[in-house]
């Protein structure tokens, strides 16, 4: 029997994750682009790691970090009385980490695609770096940023490995669509699993289709 709770939760988790990912992706791509810090290449590889590591490994590492005995977990408990593990926040954290590289890479590519002369022109016209960023860099990177957002959203929606490691599978609390599919299949309820598969496929297809449509329209406009 299909419950709507996993669907709503999946969309909620993906939406919140995408907000974090947007901020973190743009910030790190901007910092990496405008500064020449030592160890930049290593940092760059580190940022891409969640894309190539198996999600379950990411989940394991996060568990070590934010689990009850983990350094971050202990700090959060002690100073803020917060426990992340096995909550919706953990699902958001897992989603954010696994989709971060997609946002980072898209933003980086978008920033690299900007004609640097335009930013220089803004500087010579008296604009501060902050103004250059908001009036030139961001508007011109927008198509790339939207791609990154959409890909991150779709990635988080389908997240399984890291989520089950740190958020668990608590029906009504942390059960997202992929977890619901897995456990319905495991209990031989193939109809329910199939329904969830259809729902997530329709959502993901609509998002990607919408993005391509928007991009196509944008390209013809310019």
């Amino acid at each position: 029997m299909v419950e709507w709770q996993p669907v709503i939760l999946s969309i909620k988790v993906a939406s919140i994750s995408v907000m974090f990912v947007f901020f973190l992706g743009v910030l790190s791509a901007y910092v990496m682009r405008s500064t020449d810090i030592p160890g930049k290449a290593a940092l760059e590889s580190f940022f891409t790691l969640p894309l190539v590591l198996p999600p379950v490994v990411i989940g394991f590492l996060l568990l070590i970090l934010v689990g009850k005995q983990g350094p971050v977990g202990i700090l959060l408990k002690e100073y803020f009385d917060i426990q992340i593990i096995f909550t919706q926040s953990a699902a958001v954290l897992a989603g954010t980490v696994v989709s971060f590289p997609l946002m980072y890479q898209s933003t980086k590519a978008a920033f690299e695609g900007i004609d640097k002369t335009l930013e220089d022109a803004a500087r010579t016209l008296g604009a501060s770096e902050w103004r250059v960023f908001w009036t030139v860099t961001m508007p011109l990177s927008w198509p790339g940023l939207v791609s990154g957002l959409v890909l991150s959203f779709a990635r988080t929606l389908g997240e399984f490995g890291a989520t089950i490691m740190i958020a668990g599978n608590i029906p009504g609390k942390t059960q997202t669509i992929p977890l619901a599919i897995y456990f319905a299949t495991e209990s031989n309820d193939l109809v329910t699993a199939g329904m969830y598969v259809i729902i997530i496929s329709v959502i993901t297809f609509s998002i990607i289709f919408g993005l391509n449509h928007w991009k196509g329209k944008n390209i013809t406009l310019h």
Binding site: T117, L118, A121, T124, G126, T135, V136, L140
Partner: protein
């Protein structure tokens, strides 16, 4: 008055140049890759020289001695880039107003004056992609002057234009310089352009100022020798 006395190591040679620019059009003439654009970028603050100083009307833009390097935004130097660098996501009006510090009646007057002088009254709401090469040049000029600069740098401002627009705009550049009465530093490798616009010409070769013009100086567009003499400019 702008004074430039800088050194900068480039990949093939060392740029070493010293000149003073009064309120006239100074042309930096030389072949591609001789360091002309690097000089403009150093004056604008987009590049840092290795040594020397750049001052304008008493303000030190750059000095290796006092470790001063003002960022471009406070230099009040407008730069007209070779491909104009107009913001493609803004319309003509927003481009022109980008460098205005305070929105007041005076700025409005200047805007009206500029669009009339440059004959672009009919363009304000157009997007950049709808402009011809000549129109882009005029809009870029309006944007540069709208920021009320104390120096205007022009990097091959006419090279992207057809012959007809080039002739028209050469005259306009001269006229605008007379009206604004600030140093215009113009970079070009076209002898015609240099002779038509420049009050003074500096010949550059591999980052150094040279007294003799290169052979290309006396060639016209067809590669034939012309009778014009660079002496006229000194």
């Amino acid at each position: 008055m702008l004074t430039v006395d800088i050194k900068k190591n480039l990949s093939d040679f060392t740029l070493n140049i010293s000149f003073a620019a009064p309120n006239k059009t100074i042309v930096l003439f030389g072949p591609s890759g001789c360091g002309k654009t690097t000089i403009l970028r150093c004056i604008a603050g987009l590049l840092k020289p290795d040594e020397g100083s750049i001052t304008s009307n008493g303000t030190v833009f750059y000095s290796s001695q006092t470790a001063t390097h003002l960022p471009p935004r406070v230099r009040n130097v407008s730069y007209m880039f070779q491909d104009f660098a107009l913001f493609p996501h803004m319309n003509v009006k927003h481009n022109i107003w980008y460098g205005v510090k305070t929105l007041n009646h005076q700025a409005n007057q200047l805007y009206e004056k500029l669009i009339t002088l440059l004959k672009i009254e009919h363009l304000p709401h157009r997007t950049i992609s709808q402009l011809s090469g000549g129109e882009k040049q005029r809009v870029a000029m309006a944007r540069a002057l709208m920021a009320e600069p104390q120096i205007l740098l022009l990097d091959e401002p006419l090279s992207a234009l057809d012959a007809q627009s080039r002739y028209e705009l050469q005259d306009e550049l001269k006229r605008l310089q007379e009206i604004w009465n600030i140093p215009f530093i113009l970079v070009t490798h076209s002898p015609e352009e240099a002779q038509a616009i420049g009050s003074e010409v500096l010949f550059l070769h591999r980052g150094q100022q040279v007294s003799e013009p290169p052979p290309s100086w006396n060639m016209n567009g067809n590669g034939k020798t012309t009778r014009s003499s660079f002496q006229y400019f000194y």
